[in-house]
């Protein structure tokens, strides 16, 4: 297992390099332009100069190499300097600058992380926590009222897009009942109980929307997988031992059913970091999702490239984690 992990980690490096190249090529090919959002009153010559000042007049490979240098050398060195206080070189390394804001991409990402983790991360966590029991119970009591309601809610929850649920919630809870704000305040600092309450209030709506969506998805997989295992003979053995029903469910059956669940969850975790574009937009959470979408729309290639690449790293990492977990969950799966 250790060897396998190590091998996979080593293999991840060329994989990621290839991915980064393909992303870069893709972004370059895409018919977006950083001056596209400027007013039409700005004349073409000026646009041309703006493009040149962004380095867009350089050949593709040079730009790619430059990004590589900035991402793999300059940014880590910069981080090191910041953490240790050392001065490495003359400190005039070019960082990856976003084209739209002209500020270091890494800083932008760091700035967006808190709200993304609060809202998207929390909702994912909640979804995992809620969906597993729901899935387990619906499978155990297949076609009971609970299961039927669960199925109904989760399928509706999954099939009604967040742009709709979000608006409905805002109309009900912000306009009508006035319980929760409809705009997320990213400057809000949690310092005391009152501010914590406010934070909870402003997170409530987006978290509900996202949790509903994620829960639906995971719960369906838990349920299906549990159903496959519930009637196996080893469950009978466990019952014969007098094991408590909930332990049978949660330990014996659930663990045997976890492989698809682990896969789905591992696929979902990186998407926390890509944010929830529509939900963030509706509630103005302005997390990583909104950062990415504005960057894509504004053809902010350094920002998109960096975000996407970090995302790719997470995908590779979490899929690796899932693969390792398979081996731990099911000893019959061997990678040697």
């Amino acid at each position: 297992m250790f060897n396998y992990t190590l091998r996979r980690l080593l293999f991840a490096i060329p994989t990621l390099l290839v991915i980064s190249f393909i992303i870069f090529a893709l972004l370059d090919l895409a018919p977006n332009d950083p001056t596209g959002e400027l007013p039409l009153t700005i004349p073409p010559e000026v646009r041309e100069q703006i493009r040149a000042s962004l380095g867009l007049d350089q050949p593709f490979f040079i730009r790619y190499l430059l990004w590589m240098q900035q991402f793999f050398i300059n940014e880590p060195l910069n981080l090191l300097e910041k953490m240790t206080g050392w001065q490495i070189g003359d400190g005039s390394r070019m960082r990856i600058l976003s084209w739209a804001t002209r500020s270091p991409v890494v800083d932008l990402i760091v700035e967006r992380l808190p709200q993304t983790l609060w809202v998207v991360g929390l909702s994912y966590l909640l979804a995992v926590i809620i969906s597993i029991p729901i899935g387990v119970i619906s499978a155990y009591k297949q076609y009971s009222i609970f299961d039927q309601i669960g199925t109904f809610v989760s399928m509706v929850g999954f099939s009604v897009p967040t742009f709709f649920t979000g608006v409905v919630l805002i109309v009900i809870f912000s306009s009508w009942l006035q319980w929760f704000p409809s705009v997320y305040d990213t400057n809000h600092q949690v310092t005391d109980f009152a501010s914590l309450m406010f934070q909870i209030k402003q997170m409530a709506l987006p978290v509900i929307v996202l949790t509903l969506y994620n829960t639906s998805q995971i719960a369906r997989f838990v349920r299906a997988s549990m159903l496959d295992n519930l009637n196996q003979d080893y469950v009978r053995t466990a019952r014969a031992k007098g094991v408590k029903e909930n332990i049978i469910l949660l330990v014996h059956v659930l663990r045997n059913s976890l492989i698809p669940v682990v896969t789905v969850i591992a696929l979902g975790v990186p998407t926390i970091f890509s944010g929830a574009i529509i939900t963030e937009q509706i509630f103005r959470v302005n997390g990583l999702g909104q950062l990415l979408i504005t960057a894509i729309q504004g053809a902010d290639i350094p920002l998109v490239q960096t975000l996407t690449f970090i995302f790719a790293v997470l995908i590779v990492l979490f899929n690796l984690i899932a693969d390792v977990l398979y081996g731990i969950l099911d000893p019959r799966i061997r990678y040697d």
């Binding site: 332009d33 000026v46 493009r51 500020s103």
Partner: protein, 544 residues
């Protein structure tokens, strides 16, 4: 009294990406930075130039503008201080010019300084701008929200290629305006506090401003009009009936300022047939087989009911128009107002007379050329609504259309590799809005010159999107550039404007305003389409 009215909450659904308008020419950046940095003079809500950091507007009469129109001299208001307490001087004005015109800087407002030969300080409070050739409309540099003055001390190490690296300066320009940037989260939120050194000790009334970004227009409207969480929201492009229900809550209102924006349908004078490959929509492709017929162009315009488009998509925020220069008042022409009235029968008759016969499918054709058009625009729900309406009307006159919408970032992106940009115009007709800065249409009207036709030769960069070419028109525009007299200028401009509509370079649809949602608790807002909407934020206050 200063800083007594608490926090002013503004919502820009397109988030602000930087506070240096020279590095990003977006409207949102210009507006948001206008709270801190100011030009020498700006336009008020009527489009009249008013002195801002100067004592008066220089004219030929008061001697501020040279007789030969080659220079203009500004007298700075004495005693103006930057928000850090240092005095505002002519050096800063000169530096601003240097900053924007430095090579490799990628300054987005370079056009404002076009034709400026030099800027010099006659004394610490007098600035003289010299032009390379006579400039009959000299109020461009340092005028309007597009060219505010930045502080030399702050930006002196940020000239040229170094400009983008000065993040802290770009994110918090020191200015002379009523507010000072406290914190800026790019593409998210800006917080300002009242400028302690603001020249009017009683202003601003608000202690701080929070300018939040992100989301979409309807929800922004909701936040002001329905939930009352915000005081002001910009650019409320929302279906009128949706706005109406929100306004009914009684928390706020919509105010619209009309500038020069016109939503129009451009007609392609060249042939965009995909079979022509790279030649399509260029001169080599030849004239458009159907649209070359003036009758067709006119009929297309006659079939449209602009009132309905306005009612469905714009409401208070738009007026039907037949002009491409819809404002200021002196330029408004009424020659083509026949187009304001829909005339389906007239259009049908016109086409019948021109020999376009309806086929079995109800589509007109002549000599094997069908009146079937690819109609493209950017993705936007109001535009899609308009498309649907227009398609319906055109159908009634036997014209078929295939609708297409393209993501705005691609459509306006100008990427020469993309077939979907509005410049390439690989379609028969396309719809979007354009306008001109300030109040003078000279530069704008010059866009329809023959040599401004986009083509591979100029990298598709020309602005004559309809590919209209008429030597008479070129002559009128050339004359306009040489005319100093305002009345004369207006006459020439109207003539040019009428020509464009009459000949069918495009079909003007709606004179669009800038609607903003304003909370009922907010006082002092004076909607301005000629400058930043936040131009007089110093006067805003909370209703007691």
């Amino acid at each position: 009294e200063r800083a007594t009215d608490g926090d002013l909450k503004i919502l820009f659904w397109q988030a602000v990406s930087t506070l240096n308008p020279y590095l990003s020419g977006g409207t949102k950046e210009i507006y948001s930075s206008s709270l801190t940095i100011e030009p020498l003079a700006r336009y008020d809500q009527t489009g009249t130039l008013t002195p801002w950091l100067v004592t008066e507007i220089p004219t030929v009469d008061n001697g501020g503008v040279a007789k030969d129109m080659t220079s203009i001299t500004w007298k700075l208001k004495p005693g103006v201080k930057w928000s850090d307490g240092t005095p505002f001087t002519a050096e800063d004005v000169i530096f601003t010019w240097q900053y924007c015109t430095a090579p490799d800087g990628g300054c987005a407002q370079k056009a404002q300084y076009e034709g400026v030969k030099s800027v010099e300080a006659l004394d610490p409070t007098t600035v003289k701008v010299t032009f390379t050739e006579p400039k009959y409309y000299p109020y461009s540099a340092f005028v309007g929200a597009q060219s505010p003055i930045i502080q030399k001390a702050q930006f002196k190490d940020c000239v040229g290629a170094k400009a983008p690296g000065c993040t802290s300066a770009n994110f918090g320009p020191i200015g002379t305006g009523p507010f000072v940037v406290k914190e800026f989260k790019p593409n998210d939120v800006v917080t300002y506090v009242a400028n302690p050194n603001y020249r009017d000790a009683a202003k601003p009334a608000f202690a701080s401003v929070t300018l939040k970004g992100g989301g979409d227009a309807p929800s922004a409207a909701r936040a002001v009009l329905e939930t009352g969480e915000f005081d002001y929201a910009w650019n409320m492009q929302v279906e009128p009936e949706v706005l109406a229900t929100m306004i009914a809550k009684g928390k706020g209102k919509i105010e619209t300022a009309f500038g020069t924006q016109v939503e129009r349908i451009n007609l392609n004078w060249f042939n965009p047939d995909p079979a022509l490959g790279d030649k399509r929509s260029t001169k080599e492709a030849g004239p458009h087989p159907a649209l070359k017929d003036p009758a067709v162009r006119k009929a297309l315009s006659m079939a449209i009911d602009r009132e309905v488009i306005d009612e469905v998509g714009y409401g208070e925020a738009g007026k039907p128009t037949c002009n491409i220069v819809p404002a200021p008042d002196i330029y408004i022409s009424t020659t083509n107002d026949w187009c304001l009235k829909q005339d389906i029968d007239g259009a049908n008759k016109l086409l019948d007379e021109a020999g376009w016969k309806k086929g079995s499918d109800g589509i007109r054709a002549k000599d094997g050329v069908k009146l079937s058009f690819l109609y493209q625009t950017s993705t936007n729900s109001v535009r899609q609504g308009t498309q649907a309406l227009v398609k319906d009307w055109w159908q009634q006159i036997g014209v078929a259309s295939e609708l297409r919408n393209v993501a705005a970032s691609v459509f306006f992106g100008g990427d020469p590799a993309s077939p979907d940009t509005f410049q390439k115009f690989y379609a028969d007709v396309e719809m979007y809005t354009n306008n001109f800065d300030g109040t003078d249409p000279e530069k704008y009207l010059a866009e329809w010159l023959c040599d401004k036709i986009p083509s591979p030769a100029n990298g598709w960069q020309g602005q004559n999107i309809p590919r209209y070419c008429n030597p008479d028109y070129d002559k009128i525009v050339a004359e306009l550039a040489k005319t100093g007299d305002l009345a004369k200028r207006a006459e020439l401009a109207k003539k040019a404007n009428d020509m464009l509509t009459a000949e069918g370079a495009h079909i003007p649809l709606i004179h669009r305003g800038q609607p903003s949602a304003i909370s009922n608790t907010l006082a002092g807002v004076n909607m301005n389409a000629w400058d930043s909407e936040l131009w007089n934020a110093a006067d805003w206050s909370r209703k007691k």
